[in-house]
């Protein structure tokens, strides 16, 4: 396959989405058909590209000598694109059912499809500048989805989201200028691009790395910059599930990976003070997110705080700056995506059928909605790290990597990881226990007449649950893929 097809994979969903926003389709069926065709064809094309596209670059535009829009599909990009292309159609199927009780479906699906293209664009970017463009586009394309319900809360959430994202972008911009002015304007290269080390002074490099990390860290929800994420949970559940647990936040993590391993290079950063800083931030965020999740009574927000913690699991792996750490981070990125989407889907199904949002209102719902809660149980167990489900594997890898990294801070991190696992058990399993085994005071008659999710929700449940189990049992192919990326092959 020719690399020019990469452009098609990006532009196809973007143009389809724009079309969906502009032309008014008459029936619901037409909207769904249009979305389904666009999403499925993009997914198929992406998977074909992942399997068959040569690892060559294609330059679209030259703005200046050092600024060019370049596409290239390397192993890391393929990994991220693989996650996206697998989960997107599943989410769209779920959204068909979920969105039936929401307004303005056409524009929703329009922007949703645009986001697919933009997220793929991030994964296929060949250099920092291109990635930056798509990264900013993602901010813009997802804002209408956050604002979708048009309530005051949603508008405020979108405002916060914009403010934080744009602020982060400014930081990233500074780091990008630094990189470009020091010779790192070429295509991403494993091991770093900096050809000219300024002034024999490692501090300056580290300062700009920190700026870049904080900038991308906004989307990756690191501690003081996570505020937008819980607020954005007012968006419809497919958005919270796919964008705020996978596409957007993982794009932030992905960008940090690009920045660390492919732009600055670990040789410059490893052992410096900046590594301690970013790792401490990640470790603290793990503890913070997990503790907040335990305290949070709102179900979706509880899951969001759990996302905050889990994103920092990934960043913790990234900031170890070792091969094993990077491998573990990649695995957790893939596995957490699968698990968290599943958990959100269940929360969404309950929200959709009963309108209940608080964990304390879930007593006894397991009997009424057994399929949804069976899926949620799988997700909860997986997230806690119960073998043989998939997060156990990635957490084990993270722990091993931390122990092998010979970094004292990483040992602390390993301890925090186990503590966070306990907190995860508390906030996930208490939800599960409530749903299946209500206390006797619960008025079960109030639950009469609640229907379980329909097939368009159950099919994603089944696929994802099986995925969680099977990727845990047979994790080796994913492990090998991650190892190859981490070795720079």
């Amino acid at each position: 396959m020719k690399p020019i097809l990469l452009l098609l994979a990006v532009l196809l969903p973007m143009s389809a989405g724009v079309l969906l926003c502009i032309i008014k389709l008459k029936t619901d069926r037409a909207i769904k058909a249009f979305t389904a065709v666009a999403t499925l064809s993009t997914s198929a094309l992406t998977w074909a590209l992942i399997l068959h596209c040569p690892n060559e670059s294609i330059t679209l535009l030259h703005f200046a000598e050092r600024l060019a829009v370049v596409f290239r599909f390397d192993a890391l990009g393929r990994f991220f694109a693989g996650i996206l292309a697998t989960l997107w159609p599943i989410t769209v199927l779920y959204a068909f059912s979920y969105m039936e009780h929401e307004q303005r479906r056409q524009s929703f699906f329009g922007f949703f499809t645009i986001c697919f293209g933009v997220a793929l664009g991030i994964s296929m970017s060949g250099n920092l500048f291109t990635m930056y463009i798509f990264y900013e586009l993602l901010t813009l394309a997802t804002t209408p989805l956050v604002i979708h319900t048009l309530t005051k809360k949603a508008v405020n959430a979108a405002k916060t989201y914009l403010v934080f994202s744009l602020g982060g972008a400014a930081f990233v911009f500074a780091a990008m200028i630094f990189l470009i002015s020091n010779g790192a304007y070429g295509e991403f290269h494993f091991g770093g691009l900096l050809t000219r080390y300024p002034y024999d002074n490692a501090n300056i490099t580290q300062i700009f790395y920190l700026l870049g990390f904080l900038g991308f860290g906004v989307k990756a929800a690191i501690f003081p910059l996570h505020v937008w994420l819980p607020r954005a949970s007012v968006a419809p559940t497919p958005v919270t599930a796919l964008l705020h647990a996978v596409a957007v936040v993982k794009a932030g993590v992905f960008a940090v990976m690009r920045l660390t391993y492919f732009s600055f290079g670990t040789a410059l950063l490893k052992g410096g003070w900046v590594q301690s800083v970013v790792m401490s931030v990640a470790i603290f965020t793990i503890l913070f997110g997990a503790s907040k999740a335990v305290r949070e009574p709102h179900w979706k927000r509880r899951l969001v705080y759990s996302t905050v913690a889990n994103l920092s699991y990934i960043l913790f792996g990234v900031t170890m700056m070792t091969e094993a750490g990077f491998t573990a981070a990649l695995m957790h990125m893939a596995f957490h995506a699968c698990v968290k989407i599943l958990a959100f889907f269940c929360a969404g199904a309950v929200l959709c059928r009963t309108g209940r949002e608080l964990v304390t209102q879930l007593d006894g719902l397991g009997r009424r909605m057994p399929r949804s809660f069976a899926a949620f149980t799988v997700a909860a167990l997986a997230l806690t790290g119960i073998p043989p489900l998939n997060c156990f594997v990635s957490k084990w890898q993270l722990l091993t990597a931390a122990a092998d990294s010979e970094n004292p801070l990483a040992y602390v991190g390993a301890g925090v990881l186990l503590l966070a696992a306990l907190l995860t058990a508390i906030y996930m399993l208490s939800t599960v226990r409530r749903a299946w085994f209500p206390s006797k005071e619960t008025d079960l008659s109030a639950l009469e007449g609640i229907r379980d999710a329909d097939w368009r929700m159950v099919v994603p449940f089944v696929i994802l649950s099986l995925g969680v189990l099977l990727t845990g049992l047979f994790a080796t192919p994913i492990l090998h893929a991650a190892q190859q990326i981490a070795q720079g092959r």
Binding site: A290, P388, R433, S439, A475, T476
Partner: protein
């Protein structure tokens, strides 16, 4: 292949049984029994094979290793037998319970997982199945869904989760220190390892995790709560098999990493003594049939731990203790199967377990009476039954260690004998209450119940009862043979001389226990614990480790701690003021910029594009600007210049002020923060380019 099949077959059968159960209840019951029977057949085949190893590469990100040796093949048979018997017993017991499909589903899942734990060839594999087992057995505890069951279930889950995590930490330390968790390789690697401190830490973590499942003090809290509320067949399995999986883990590290390590042995010995004695004491005080049996399980686990502890103390000559520990594990599984089934028979007839209520139920029911008596005498260590054999071996082991270590071990010996006496005392209490005493009111009703169980349950009870006397009477070859086969896992030394079970030395120990038991029963149970012919629960209810320590610590201490962290760094305490301060700063900056332009425009308007007249303002507020204007007006008047309007400057200033405000609010409202960030970043870039380059 056989090994894999032992594990996977029940796991695969579980969803099938659920599916069948949706259609036909009888079909499902029969199917479950068939699965149990087939599994028993497989286990016997494994017993004949006794060797084998199976590596499943690439599972769970690493590899899973299953292994079959003498000990495992013996225990696989015990597990399969216990499951088969309980599955046979289940249909009648569960007749009136709801959620039976769920019960069978998780029952079969747990069977597979338990097989996995015992067959595991490395600790990683064991952990994987151990966690599955912990979670699939949770629905057993909570099966009845009464408030008590829910509370017990919560305790069980909490202990399982925390134990699992700590065990994981230990495994993980072992993995990093030794490079593998494969059980066969651990001894050599641990001997070569320099860093003994980490090994002890890892060992402590694993001991915590598996000890929690075994019911070892001070992690026994779930045991007396969970067993009474679970259905009787499940209690039998929880007590007979699941606690043994904890022992399995303790054995795996004690016999390999800490083989013949006196320090480790001492720790286990102390913990074992406390567990043994405390369990027996709790059982003596309990007035609930199943709770007594549960506490008794805890006590018997203590006996086994004492055996493992003495193994560590004795070094190479530890064959007696090893055989004793193995046989006591085996025997205890069989006792508890039988005793819990008896308790199940009582419960399914009377739906009550309080000793005062069930008094006299067993009168005139010879089968039940014989079965219970066999179990009670067996667990009490009365000669001619199998319990005597294993207790004698354990006792011999302690005596041997006492010869080496002196008075401290003498003390252990007495604790051992006293606990044995207490065991007899509480079993006598149960036996007398159920089978000899009469119920003050309902005795006629109880006597009238002639058909108190169906043929399947009867068969189950007989199957559970028969091995006890058979093993006990043929001890010199059957139990010796089992010990010969089973101790390969223990890596114990060779047996120096054959043990004469019925020599006077050995009988003396049993007699001392019987004497203590009789004394305790007559003096304490009859005198202190009974009042007006009724059993009283004299155990102070406040003295509960869970309520005293664990629950406050977990439910209040930890959340308070993390809550404080979350609150301290939460949005409201630090972030909000911080972002507000930033916004304030940004708005001041923007104010400055905007006000400057506004001032320019105003200046232009008043000089070049001068407007001639200003209309009278309807609403003039008392602002600073307004006052300032008034002052200017006053000065003008003072200076004697003539004016047309009255408050010209005052209006002018006020308007200017209002324009300022409106414009700046509009601008700072949304993007000020972003703008500020952008400005900051651009300033940084400029600074970098200009100053440093």
């Amino acid at each position: 292949m056989l090994i894999l099949f032992l594990v996977l077959f029940p796991l695969a059968a579980a969803p099938l049984s659920y599916g069948i159960g949706r259609r036909s209840k009888r079909g499902r019951d029969a199917f479950a029994v068939a699965v149990g029977a087939l599994e028993l057949g497989l286990a016997l085949a494994a017993f004949l094979q006794r060797h084998g190893q199976l590596e499943l590469p690439g599972l769970c990100g690493q590899k899973l290793l299953l292994e079959l040796d003498g000990f495992r093949s013996v225990y696989v048979c015990v597990i399969a037998l216990m499951w088969f018997v309980t599955l046979l017993f289940s249909p009648e017991y569960n007749l009136h319970h709801h959620n039976r499909n769920r019960y069978y589903f998780f029952n079969l899942m747990t069977l597979g997982a338990t097989m996995g734990v015992f067959l595991a060839g490395d600790l990683f594999t064991a952990f994987v199945f151990f966690e599955i087992m912990s979670f699939t057995s949770f629905p057993w505890v909570i099966q009845e869904e009464t408030p008590g069951a829910i509370k017990a279930g919560n305790t069980y889950l909490a202990v399982a989760v925390i134990g699992g995590l700590v065990a994981l930490m230990g495994l993980f330390l072992l993995q990093t220190k030794l490079g593998t968790t494969q059980i066969d390789a651990l001894y050599a690697l641990a001997a070569a390892c320099e860093d003994k401190g980490s090994l002890y830490l890892a060992g402590a973590c694993v001991l915590f995790g598996f000890g929690a499942k075994a019911g070892m003090f001070p992690l026994h809290i779930w045991l007396p709560k969970a067993h009474p509320v679970a259905p009787a067949p499940a209690s039998a399995l929880l007590s007979g098999v699941l606690t043994k999986s904890g022992i399995w883990g303790i054995l795996a590290i004690s016999c390999n990493i800490f083989r013949a390590d006196p320090a480790w042995g001492t720790v286990l010995l102390v913990l074992g003594c406390v567990t043994m004695f405390l369990g027996a004491l709790l059982a003596l005080f309990s007035v609930d049939l199943k709770r007594t049996l549960a506490c008794s399980s805890m006590s018997q686990i203590g006996f086994i731990l004492v055996g493992i502890g003495t193994m560590g103390l004795l070094g190479a000559e530890n064959a007696l203790a090893a055989r004793g520990a193995l046989l006591h594990m085996l025997n205890h599984s069989l006792f508890k199967l039988l005793l819990f089934l008896c308790a199940g028979v009582v419960y399914m007839n009377l739906h009550c377990l309080d000793l005062n209520e069930i008094r006299g139920f067993g009168r005139g029911k010879p089968l039940l009476q014989t079965a219970f008596l066999l179990g009670a005498l067996g667990i009490g260590g009365i000669p001619l039954l199998n319990g005597y054999i294993s207790k004698t071996l354990l006792h011999e082991g302690i005596v041997e260690a006492a010869a080496e270590y002196g008075w401290t071990l003498k003390l252990v010996e007495w604790v051992f004998l006293c606990s044995g006496g207490l065991t007899l005392a509480y079993m006598t209490k149960l036996y007398v209450a159920i089978f000899l005493e009469k119920h003050p009111k309902k005795q006629e009703d109880y006597d009238a119940r002639r058909r108190y169980m169906d043929p399947a349950s009867t068969l189950a009870l007989c199957l559970a009862a028969i091995p006890l006397p058979v093993l006990g009477l043929s001890a010199s070859w059957s139990m010796n043979a089992l010990a010969d086969i089973g101790t390969d896992f223990f890596h114990s030394g060779a047996l120096a001389h054959a043990v004469h079970f019925y020599a006077w030395e050995n009988l003396k120990g049993a007699l001392i226990s019987v004497a203590i038991g009789a004394a305790v029963y007559l003096l304490i149970v009859r005198k202190l614990l009974m009042k007006n012919g009724a059993y009283r629960n004299c155990w102070p209810s406040r003295l509960d480790l869970e309520e005293l320590l664990y629950r406050p610590l977990l439910l209040h201490g930890l959340p308070a701690f993390f809550g404080a962290i979350a609150a301290l760094f939460g949005e409201n305490r630090i972030l909000a003021p911080l972002s507000r301060a930033l916004l304030r700063l940004a708005s001041i900056l923007v104010h400055a910029v905007c006000d400057l332009t506004d001032a320019l425009i105003l200046l232009l308007r008043n000089t070049v594009y001068r407007t001639r007249t200003l209309h009278q303002e309807d609403e003039v507020r008392d602002t600073l600007m307004y006052r300032l204007g008034k002052d200017v007006d006053a000065i003008e008047i003072r200076l004697g210049r003539e004016q047309k309007g009255q408050t010209r400057y005052a209006q002018l200033f006020y308007r200017a002020y209002r324009t300022f405000r409106e414009t700046s609010i509009r601008i700072t409202g949304n993007l000020s923060f972003a703008l500020f960030m952008l400005t900051a970043a651009i300033c940084l870039i400029f600074f970098y380019i200009i100053v440093l380059q």
